[in-house]
Amino acid sequence: MAPILQSSQPWVEKYRPKQVKDVAHQDEVVRVLTNTLETGSCPHMLFYGPPGTGKTTTALAIAHQLFGPELYKSRVLELNASDDRGINVVRTKIKDFAAVAVGTNQCKNGYPCPPFKIIVLDEADSMTEDAQNALRRTMETYSKVTRFFFICNYVSRIIEPLASRCAKFRFKPLSEEIMSSRILYISQEEGLCLDAEALSTLSFISHGDLRRAITYLQSAARLFGSSISSENLISVSGVVPAKVVEALLKACKSGNFDLANKEVNNFIAEGYPASQMLTQLFEAIVEENDLSDEQKARISKKLGEADKCLVDGADEYLQLLDVVSNTIKAFNSLPEAFAYEC
């Protein structure tokens, strides 16, 4: 009987740094946390920054280095707040875990094993405000035996009472050379051929998000084999090719509504996400040299409005057509006001 095919591990997990000092290019954070590890004293922590910059990696690495693999499961509770984020969870799971007394002080295999437990709350900015408020008392009551690690993208969404109880650590977006060196290392380990153009394309489409870059690399390797080109990466990432964006802009410059409408129809038929087109249109407009500041402002305002409508679930074709119509008028300096405003 043939063995069941093992799940191939996502490279995002396979190449996750295991030690705090291995987290790339967050030097300020690493320096402070290394000191924490040596002394064993640990405040509540708040990690914030863009996605894919090592926040969760750092939190888990701290927990592993403090407790080691044996005590990790009994001493560390991980909650992803995206689904366990109501007030019920705070009343039950977190309080129950925080209230349990710490086990006997036993240093094993050289790990510090400080006398407290750790609760890691990932995606903490998705927690409801009630849940965050309910957490305040728990943090104070059990601060002797429990430490909280909050991980979020926007520190402004954590209520001030919680934020003021934590040591804050900001994670910066990764620069291109940092990401490139990491990607090259993974490519060598997995036996991939990656040329310089593909490498720069991968950095461009990832926007400083290393997890996204690694995921794109793995997706492209699965679909296309070990030789990966720039086009392969673009196709797995959902990024709109530059030619399509340029074709749409050219139609806008021509001032012909029917031509632009045809381009929008073709774009929708190709299946590209409209939100991605708005993002790339914005970048193209900002870099356009032939436009005045007022024209750029008009177009950017409409792009912002359309992006909001798309997030709320509006129809892609209609929103994109509205954006294109506004862009045509801005390019040709036609009057902006409508005959009847609501």
Binding site: S7, R222, G238, A269, E270, E316, L321, I328, F338
Partner: protein, 354 residues
């Protein structure tokens, strides 16, 4: 049997339109373990066909023996107890469903089904894979909470259950889900590709196609392959042998909307608006989706307008469709759009002709 089902490719090797994607998917599935997949693209582009062919590639011909089940779940959600019911298609190895049919309770459906599949993982290992597949349709219509639940659940049980997500537009799928799936974009076939498929079907059915006939069907279909094949079969039913100038019949609701647009252009008065409202109600009670009504109405109106009015009209169509998305009663917003158009158009006529 309709031609659209009769000539649907059953295996990845038979796929005619997206041959490169089918080839890559076959390599993906045979060589190594399959990740979660997200298929996105416009309607009628072949997403479902590729998914069914992929399942057959993974599990063999048994994947086609499906049965329709009306399943119910009883869920304790804190202080409440919910009874949910949903229709699913299931085979021994996969389940297919549209959780957005459950409305705002879609998050519970998503969580419960995946947990169930994880519990019932196959005892015998005679099957090729150690996991089952859950096909979720219309993922872009899931609520935000359901997508969050889906994201967490797909992480926890990924060893036993693989997801294949299918949606029209990936803009409304949260980034968290997109980053955990292998995204496969299925673009609409070009008109040349549709012509090839129609000629293939014509040859199989022993039909004689006049030159340019297939191209005209392809042009009318708006790059929708399902639409093209259905139109082709409709032409065959209406009249055979085909003629060069044979009319390609549009859909009933499209003719109806074209009539509405003509009514709006001819007269702009409260009495005419009242008549248009009656016609809009007729469309809505026949289950034409409101956003499709609005888009088709805009298309018909734009064909009759001067260039300077087109900008304003397409803005208001986008505006009212967005409000319709946020609201509950579609007739309010479609009628508001018609009233707004009448006002703009009448002002334009007065300013132009006095």
């Amino acid at each position: 049997m309709l031609w659209v089902d009769k000539y649907r490719p059953k295996t990845l090797d038979q796929v005619m339109v997206h041959t490169d994607i089918a080839h890559n998917l076959k390599k993906l599935v045979t060589e190594q373990d399959s990740p979660h997949l997200l298929f996105y693209g416009p309607s009628g582009s072949g997403k479902k066909t590729l998914i069914m062919a992929l399942l057959r590639q993974m599990f063999g011909p048994g994947a086609e023996k499906v049965k329709v089940e009306n399943r119910t779940w009883k869920i304790d959600a804190g202080s409440r107890s919910l009874d949910l019911e949903l229709t699913t298609l299931s085979s021994a190895n996969h389940i297919e469903m549209s959780p957005s049919d459950a409305g705002f309770q879609d998050r519970y459906i998503v969580q419960e089904v995946i947990k169930e599949m994880a519990k019932n993982r196959p005892i015998d290992t005679k099957g090729k894979k150690g996991f089952k597949v859950l096909v979720l349709n219309d993922v872009d219509k899931l609520s935000r909470e359901a997508q969050h639940s889906l994201r967490r659940t797909m992480e926890k049980y990924s060893a036993y259950c693989r997801l294949i997500l299918c949606c029209n537009s990936s803009s409304r799928v949260t980034e968290a889900i997109r980053s955990r799936c292998l995204n496969v974009r299925i673009n609409a076939p070009s008109e040349e590709q549709i012509v090839q498929v129609l000629e293939f079907i014509g040859k199989k059915e022993g039909l004689q196609l006049p030159p340019g006939f297939a191209a005209r069907i392809a042009e009318k279909s708006n790059r929708n392959l399902r639409r093209a094949i259905l139109s082709f079969e409709t032409c065959r039913v209406l009249q055979y042998p085909f003629t060069n100038k044979q009319a390609i019949p549009p859909m009933d609701w499209e003719e109806y909307i074209s009539e509405i647009a003509s009514d709006i252009m001819k007269e702009q008065s409260p009495k005419r608006l009242f008549q248009v409202r009656g016609k809009l109600y007729e469309l809505l009670i026949n289950c034409i989706p409101p956003e499709i009504i609005l888009k088709r109405l805009l298309y018909e109106l734009l064909r009759k307008l001067d260039a300077e009015l087109k900008h304003e009209v397409c803005h208001w169509a986008a505006y009212y469709e967005y409000r319709m998305r946020l609201g509950q009663k579609a007739i309010f917003h479609i009628e508001a759009f018609v009233a707004k158009f009448m006002s703009i158009y009448k002002s334009f006529l007065i300013a132009t002709f006095g």
